[in-house]
């Protein structure tokens, strides 16, 4: 055990208990207790920060005596990936979650007003649940089986798939969102106990928006990471891990809309209590699903049961029972009143939107829980992406239509310009859909979805522009977010329904045409940016422009895992996605094609005469620490001479030769296949020369290439959605700060 870390964790847990007890005393009217409670909370935050700093210190100082450091890091990682090692494993990510939750409490306390005592009691409990897991499954535990006084020289390293810039920031953003769901939950419970059923909505709304923005950003980062790293061509695989951030996100989005309803209409109180409790319980449930190992047979993510399953089930039971029991206890006295709004009113549309969000959340949850549900009746079974695609499509269409109509509705009915604006949006939608049909969009369901997405986008875009032109930036949040959502849905349809994929087998140096591009495989090389083996493929488009695609294929030494990353080239109208499948190094041509020469010597092969001038170490050390050696050769053929330098690079994944073209017809190449530096000799192999021995097979590279039309819309839409969310967050936080507190917050 790393004592300072463990002490800090215990200190944090005890301070949280102390703060909870002090808040409970403050409820009984103890004048000093609240000040004690706050100071103890501050102490807990400090202890959590110390524990986090301790783990980071162990990682940065390469202290491989500790299990966590040994398992997830090694000496070769650069600083940024060393830092992200912090949250690469279960224990570290729980600590990150606790850290985010602890920090959120700092602004929460001064803004909780008269709800402070009860809110913080509940909130402290949620943090204690995390701290308990960390005390049970400590990130500071030592490596087992280590002889005393010894330390491993190096660790096992970070999963190469996680060594990606997007993956370094994805977890902190996500855990901020997870942690923020506890705030509306705590407010809801406090409000139920205090019988003050309305004010909490204003206080909790900015936090619900924070969850929507941060979880949304995390989903965006994770999806983009999958797209540029995993190589199956998509960004969303309906994996349990992905679903377990999507479901709380959908529930939190429903909560935000429910709170806006209650604020404006003074009704829907029970709905919001249910949603606030549900959002948090769903986060706890998702944690149970993904961290307990119950889905180990059903997901590509490697879940290992760390022995905390009991704790996770306990957490789930405690918070579910706590939340819903208190709600049931108060349910009869929460005032309700019937509404009288017409169908075409923002009120009804919000209710429908909430129903659609919850419906899709329920279906995704049902699918994700399939192995658990079926286990109750028969042998466990799961559902694949086909289920999710089928059930979310109609809800997506419904949601998009609601989004298109809602901008010109008011709480109690239509706005005066409703009909005109609706016609304008529909006309624009008709134009956009016709354009899509002209460009080749087909399929009734997809075109319907596309049209609905355009409708959502355009109606909200018009509204956003109106708001901005009128100088009402503050009110643009909702429409901007909804325009982004429409854009995102359109991008999902175009990039998946109209995606074209072809499989290519590329022998070295030969060209193949596919999807309007000409692909020529140039051989393996070392990617200058990452120092890893990549396949260089020259891609030439119809208009003559070209670039070199470098999909990566390398073997991770530590895990002996073959890693393949796609190459993604972003064009204005589409992405060209080159995903490696297989690399066949080919049969080396027989000895007749190989020549071994020493410095200053001359050799002849076919029409070529070679003079070896010497080694060129100028390639030097590229990124990643590989060494490149070049053989400087003078080649004479048909009376003309020229200097060529084929290179050989030693990389983490072995030697990589970079052939050079030879002058003359036929596309012959020369490869440096080996060096003997001490004797100053080089071994060279000719390929493509007429005299090449029979039976030699050129190297071949197989890849999936696909064109993904307008996938940029998806990312742009998500960014707009989040920007709208941030605008709304700023507005609602400002609204709340401007209200008069029901009771002075500082005692």
């Amino acid at each position: 055990m790393f004592v300072p870390g463990v002490v800090a964790l215990w200190a944090a847990a005890l301070a949280l208990v102390g703060s909870t007890v002090a808040y409970a005393r403050a409820l009984k009217g103890d004048a000093n207790a609240r000040s004690w409670a706050r100071q103890l909370y501050g102490l807990a935050v400090f202890a959590v920060v110390v524990a986090s700093a301790a783990l980071l210190y162990l990682i940065l100082s390469h202290d491989f005596r500790y299990h966590y450091v040994f398992s997830y890091s090694d000496r070769s990682l650069p600083l940024s990936y060393l830092i992200s090692t912090f949250w690469a494993g279960q224990e570290g990510s729980f600590l990150l979650w606790l850290l985010a939750g602890a920090l959120i409490g700092l602004p929460l306390i001064p803004t909780a007003r008269h709800y402070e005592n009860r809110t913080m009691i509940v909130y402290n409990l949620t943090l204690l649940a995390l701290a308990a897991i960390l005390l049970r499954q400590s990130p500071f535990r030592p490596l087992e089986g280590l002889p005393p006084g010894q330390a491993p020289f190096d660790g096992q390293g970070l999963n190469p798939l996680l060594q990606n810039p997007w993956m370094t920031i994805h977890p902190p953003v996500m855990f901020l969102g997870y942690a923020a769901t506890a705030v509306p939950f705590a407010f809801a419970v406090a409000a139920l106990v205090e019988r003050r059923y309305d004010e909490w909505v204003r206080a909790a709304l900015p936090w619900a928006l924070l969850t929507v923005v941060t979880l949304g950003a995390a989903i965006l980062l994770g999806g983009y990471w999958a797209y540029v790293t995993l190589g199956w061509g998509g960004y969303w695989g309906w994996d349990p891990v992905e679903n377990s951030s999507l479901v709380p996100w959908l529930a939190s989005a429903a909560l935000v809309h429910g709170m806006l309803l209650q604020r404006s209409r003074g009704r829907f109180r029970k709905l919001n209590f249910s949603l606030a409790i549900l959002s948090f319980v769903l986060v706890v449930y998702a944690t149970f699903l993904t961290r307990s190992g119950v889905l180990a047979d059903f997901s590509v993510h490697s879940f290992v049961d760390l022995g905390i399953t009991g704790w996770l089930v306990g957490n789930l039971a405690v918070f579910t029972v706590l939340g819903f029991t208190i709600l049931a206890w108060r349910a009869r006295e929460i005032p309700t009143s019937p509404g009288d709004e017409p169908f075409l009113s923002r009120t009804v549309f919000f209710v429908l939107g909430i129903a659609a969000l919850l419906g899709s959340a329920a279906l995704v949850l049902l699918g994700t829980s399939a192995p658990l549900i079926t286990r109750l009746f028969t042998q466990p079974a799961q559902v694949g992406p086909a289920f999710y695609n089928r059930v979310t499509l109609p809800i997506g269409i419904l949601l998009a239509v609601l989004l298109g109509v809602v901008p010109y509705l008011q709480w109690r009915g239509r706005s005066p310009e409703f009909v005109r604006r609706l016609l304008l949006s529909l006309a624009l939608t008709a134009v956009a859909t016709s354009a899509a049909l002209l460009l080749g969009a087909r399929g009734l369901l997809f075109v319907t979805f596309l049209a609905a997405s355009f409708f959502a986008l355009l109606a909200n875009l018009v509204k956003t522009v109106e708001a901005l032109a009128g100088g009402r930036l503050r009110q643009a949040g909702g429409p901007l977010a909804h325009a982004g959502l429409g854009l995102m849905l359109a991008g999902i349809v175009t990039s998946s329904a109209f995606d074209r994929t072809e499989k290519l087998v590329l022998p070295l140096g030969e060209s193949r045409e596919a999807l309007g591009y000409t692909f020529t495989f140039k051989g393996p090389e070392v990617d200058p940016a990452s120092g890893r083996q990549a396949m260089a493929v020259d891609v030439r488009s119809g208009d003559g422009t070209s670039y070199v695609a470098r999909p990566k294929m390398f073997r991770n030494e530590k895990s002996n895992q073959l890693v393949a990353n796609p190459d993604v080239k972003v064009f204005l109208t589409h992405d060209l996605y080159v995903s490696p499948i297989e690399f066949d190094p080919g049969q080396p041509a027989d000895a007749g094609a190989a020549v071994e020469i020493g410095k200053g010597e001359t050799a002849t092969f076919g029409p070529y005469t070679l003079t070896f001038r010497g080694f060129d170490m100028g390639g030097g050390h590229g990124g990643g620490g590989q060494i490149t050696i070049g053989a400087v050769l003078e080649v004479t053929t048909d009376g003309a001479s020229q200097t060529v330098t084929p290179t050989l690079a030693a990389t983490d994944s072995g030697f990589v030769s970079r052939p050079v073209p030879l002058p003359g017809p036929g596309g012959a190449t020369l490869t440096l296949s080996g060096v003997n530096a001490s004797q100053g000799r080089a071994r060279l192999v000719f390929s493509g020369v007429g005299q090449e021995a029979k039976g030699g097979q050129p190297m071949r590279f197989s890849a999936d290439v696909s064109v993904k039309p307008l996938i940029g819309l998806l990312w742009l839409g998500l960014v707009l959605l989040l920007a709208g969310g941030v605008l709304a967050l700023v507005r609602r936080a400002g609204d709340f700060a401007a209200t008069t507190p029901g009771e002075p917050s500082s005692a």
Partner: protein
């Protein structure tokens, strides 16, 4: 009151339809774990698990599929074809889960799950090299 009744009816019908739709889609798409024998007889998507027959994997360019065989505890062997990337630590896998439909003489897999000896379990004692410092 009529209005309220109409709303409740519409809501009830919508919810009932929604539940029927969800449950129907759910039942249609379930892929149960089955034995190889059952997989051969089934027309539906199923899920099978077995260990890779060493050396049986090859990439078939003509059909552009990864072809391999898995064997279960009883020694039954099943041919699997997978149209897609060979998963990372495929050859080191202790168990391979294939999800798909049996067609012709092999299982056409839509999805593969590769289960590896966990990098972090049981190997700790052996894998480090001691450094006297």
């Amino acid at each position: 009151m009529n209005r309220r009744l109409a709303w409740s009816l519409a809501g009830g019908v919508a919810i009932a339809g929604f539940v029927a739709f969800g449950v129907g889609a759910f039942r249609d798409n379930l892929t149960p774990y089955v034995s190889f024998e059952k997989a051969r007889r089934s027309r539906d998507a199923v899920q099978v698990a077995g260990s890779l027959v060493p050396g049986s994997d090859r990439y078939d360019e003509a059909s552009s599929r990864l072809i391999f065989a898995i064997t279960d505890e009883g020694g039954d062997t099943l041919q699997v074809a997978y149209k897609g990337l060979k998963p990372g630590n495929f050859n080191e896998a202790t168990q391979i889960v294939a999800i798909g439909r049996y067609r012709g003489d092999r299982l056409e897999a839509e999805k593969l799950l590769v289960k590896c000896p966990s990098k972090y379990q049981g190997v700790e004692e052996k894998q480090y090299t001691s450094d006297p410092s």
